[in-house]
């Protein structure tokens, strides 16, 4: 008969007291304050890191695509205000000259919004890089391509010059 009150007393003995809860709450608030202060210091560097990595990735993709197309290019010229057209030697007997007509393959690069698009006469079109703020192709020789990328506050400019092989 006396078992129930004893069990109840023991059950209450296993929990936190109000004093312990108070101390824990204060400690948790201190930890949260420290964490928030730390995050305030740390957050901008994380954002910058993500932006920098994104820019690097996009720049690398653009450079690799240009390199792939320039490998067999025999002619290149500005196309519109912010575009580039490449003439790749084609056919069974490559002439070595830019004929700008089949069997040579023409490849176009153009800035659409803030993406750099690549297309050719087969109709294949895909995005080479995004976060592109500017893409200009200079007139004259040697051909000079300027690619500017921007993501948040991080910006990068890359200049590609079509050059003869070094001896």
């Amino acid at each position: 008969m006396n078992k129930t009150p004893l069990t109840l007393r023991r059950r209450f003995r296993t929990g936190f007291t109000i004093f312990e809860l108070l101390v824990v709450s204060i400690l948790m608030v201190i930890v949260m304050l420290i964490t928030s202060q730390f995050w305030k210091w740390f957050s901008p560097s994380v954002t910058e890191m993500i932006a920098r990595e994104h820019i690097l990735c996009e720049a690398r993709m653009a450079a690799q695509n240009l390199a792939a197309d320039f490998g067999s290019a025999v002619g290149a010229a500005p196309f519109g205000s912010d575009g580039l057209v490449l003439c790749k030697d084609g056919g069974d007997f490559p002439s070595g000259d830019a004929n700008w007509a089949p069997p040579d393959v023409l490849v176009y690069y153009s800035l659409v919004g803030n993406t750099l698009q690549r297309s050719d006469l087969t109709g294949a079109e895909f995005t080479v890089a995004d976060s592109v703020s500017n893409f200009t192709v200079g007139e004259g020789s040697p051909l000079r391509i300027t690619l500017e990328l921007q993501c948040r506050d991080v910006a990068r400019q890359m200049v590609f010059i079509w050059s003869a092989p070094t001896p």
Binding site: R10, R13, T14, G15, F16, E20, V23, V24, L27, M28, V31, I34, T35, F38, W39, F42, S45, V46, E48, M49, R52, E53, L56, A59, A63, Q64, L66, A67, A68, F70, G71, S72, A73, V74, G75, D89, D92, F93, P94, S95, G96, D97, A98, S141, P142, L143, R156, Q157, M158, V159, F160, I161, W162, S163, A164, P165, T166, P167
Partner: protein, 126 residues
């Protein structure tokens, strides 16, 4: 108050619950874990900056197209140099028609400049 203190001193009181010290230690470990986790991000950020500086020291690149006819036919990418070439670019392909080249198979990695190709040559002078 004396009664409350005697309750604290009772060993049975601590038998089934967390103690204040345990909780404090747990919180300290949690805070250290959070700080070390953030420290890892900081190291990662510094490494990324280092990679950026070491991989792209200059922003000007010279695109050098393949001068070898074979390389052109096989679609090998242009070289990216950091020094200027000798002169303005002139297409190097001579246009000599010795062989008809038929590309049977070509496999190459996107990242790698090496390519594996299988071609058939037909002598057009015969």
């Amino acid at each position: 108050m004396k009664r409350l203190w005697s309750k604290y001193r009772d060993r049975r009181f601590f038998a089934g619950a967390f103690s204040f010290v345990e909780l404090q230690i747990a919180l300290v470990i949690l805070a250290m874990g959070l700080l070390s986790f953030a420290g890892l991000f900081r190291i990662y950020s510094l490494q990324t900056r280092y990679i950026e500086q070491s991989s792209l020291p200059v922003s000007t690149y010279y695109i050098v197209s393949q001068s070898n006819r074979w390389m052109q036919q096989l679609g090998v990418p242009a070289d990216m140099e950091q020094t200027a070439g000798q002169s303005a670019w002139t297409p190097p392909v001579s246009g000599d028609k010795a062989y008809r080249i038929r590309l049977n198979r070509l496999s190459k990695d996107f990242d790698n400049s090496l390519a594996d190709a299988n071609v058939t040559l037909e002598d057009v002078n015969e």
